[in-house]
Amino acid sequence: MNKTRVTVIDDDASVLRSLERLLHVAGYETGGFPSMESFLASGEGSITNCLILDLLLPGMCGLEAIGLLKREFPTMKVVAISGCGRAKNREVLEAARRLGADAYFSKPLDVAELLATVRLFLQRQEEAPRSRGALK
């Protein structure tokens, strides 16, 4: 059985490592990148089913990336994460939603809720008739 792939992009190495481990334990194939540029260069976009994307990144930031991802990989689900409990976090996440993010979470992350959301997205993807062209 083909495992579904969930990729994480976060410039904070500790968050990246923990999320990768968590998703691996949850039964997903995982990949992690510290920047949007390295993710795009790796070519993993075409095999990623769900992307957990930190918005605050050096180089291409998450808000910039959402539009690009939605255009290049229309079936990929994008979960935006951002925060540290800043005052403007809500506005940033709201902007991510308006730009096309499928879900958004504020740091510190509610891991159970994040996993449930990822699971729900992937389940829906399985059920829906797949447009494999975009993924290949």
Binding site: L63, E64, I66, G67, R86, A95, L99
Partner: protein, 426 residues
């Protein structure tokens, strides 16, 4: 009371600083702060009050076992140095005095050491050419001359400041390459909380870019001329915006050196005066300079000239600034910093965050300029900046296009500039 702080009685007042007090003991020396240093802006009493704190610390640190000091009155200290001969003691007090003077000048950058001032005046060869060049305070021979230096220096300073007030006309008539057209573009400023582009900042030439073409760093005269020309151009822009029914705020930069100089300040004020009163409501003045270069009192002095001549005053300082106490006491609308071009994106994010956090702790509004890309815009927003500008927000425009609404996501869409109405000039 500790032994060191125990009062020492003084019998009589010596005429000059560091003079040995005659009477009870030839080992008691007098140190007078007003003979060491003056300040560009502080009244003498204000300076002495602040200098007293510094003097206490320096003297305490400098005294050895068996030596004592006591403050006699504001700015006057008695030092009991029993192990030294009167001459050696006098020299020692001079050294302590120089340390105090140096420390005062470090903490209050507007301060001028009297010996330095006297030397400067002597070298300028003005009316006081006969002034003997000042000797170092450490030199025994220099000590009796200090009072005289002070008197001459004060007189000369008065003459210099009264005789060199340039009028706007004179300032503008000084032709200089690279300063004829100070404003090249306008930088739209995004108000984060109101989600509007509501102001436009005049972007001055970057002189470092012009160096290969033979333009060097501008001197104070050139800077003052740029500032005056900027104001005059801003006036024209505001007039056309108001007449086109597209009012928006215009931010005109002015360099701190211009405001600190009596010679150029009057010309600058004259330039602002040329703006009709009803248009000044749209004018924001942005002081450009290093905050550490201006004392709290100096800043208040400068702001007193500006506050009733414009809508608000901004202060752009170095992004590494961490102390914002000067801004909380003075009515500065917001404090800004420019993103640095010589560091990585990640470092810029950290610097922006540190700057905003430090300012927010003091309750100061903050704005970021020169944000190079969308990533830095997001970093600025996340850090809590109230206003943002730079290529990451909207690229510089030739002419202000008036206020318009723009939510954060608008800057990240493909049709990112859709909210910009066509320029009235077009």
């Amino acid at each position: 009371m500790s032994e060191r702080d125990r009062p020492i009685s003084i019998a009589g007042e010596a005429p000059s600083n560091a003079a040995v007090v005659q009477g009870r003991s030839r080992r008691v020396h007098k140190l007078v702060l007003r003979d060491l240093v003056v300040h560009r802006y502080f009244e003498e009493e204000v300076l002495l009050r602040r200098a007293d704190r510094i003097a206490h610390e320096v003297i305490k640190a400098d005294l050895r076992d068996g030596e004592y000091y006591r403050q006699v009155k504001h700015g006057v200290y008695a030092l009991y140095l029993p192990k030294l001969t009167p001459d050696a003691g006098q020299l020692r007090v001079a050294v302590i005095g120089e340390r105090i003077s140096r420390e005062i000048r470090r903490v209050h950058p507007g301060s001028i050491a009297l010996d330095e001032m006297a030397a400067t005046i002597a070298s300028r060869g003005n009316k006081h050419r006969e002034t003997t060049p000042a000797k170092s305070l450490t030199s025994k021979a220099a000590l009796p001359d200090l009072k005289e230096h002070h008197r001459q220096a004060t007189e000369a300073m008065k003459l210099m400041s009264s005789g060199y007030r340039l009028r706007l006309e004179e300032l503008l008539s000084t032709a200089d390459v690279g300063t004829t057209d100070p404003i090249a573009r306008f930088e739209p400023i995004w108000d984060v909380s109101r989600a509007t582009v509501s102001a436009f900042r005049c972007v001055l030439h970057d002189f470092s870019d012009m160096r290969p073409h033979g333009v060097m760093e501008p001197n104070e005269l050139q800077i003052a001329r740029i500032d005056a020309l900027t104001i005059l151009q801003a006036r024209a822009v505001m007039q056309s915006l108001v007449s086109a029914s597209r009012p928006c705020l215009v931010v005109a930069p002015v360099h701190l050196v211009t405001l600190q100089s009596n010679t150029y300040l009057s010309a600058f004020i004259e330039a602002i005066g040329a703006i009709p009163e009803q248009h000044r409501g749209f004018l924001l003045l942005e002081i450009l300079g290093d905050m550490t270069e201006v004392s709290r009192y100096g800043l208040r002095h400068v702001l007193a000239y500006l506050h009733n001549r414009c809508r608000a005053v901004l202060f752009r300082t170095d992004i590494k600034t961490g102390d914002f106490s000067k801004f909380t006491e003075n009515r500065i609308f917001a404090v800004g910093a420019a993103a640095r071009s010589d560091v990585s994106a990640a470092q810029n994010m950290i610097l922006l965050d540190q700057f905003a956090s430090a300012a927010k702790r003091m309750g100061v509004r903050v704005y970021a300029t020169g944000l190079p890309n969308k990533s830095s815009l997001l970093a600025a927003v996340a850090a809590g900046f109230d206003f943002a500008s730079g290529a990451g927000v909207v690229h510089d425009v030739d002419y202000p296009f008036g206020a318009c609404r723009a939510t954060l996501d608008a800057f990240y869409r493909d049709d990112e500039y859709r909210f910009i109405p066509p320029s009235p000039a077009a």
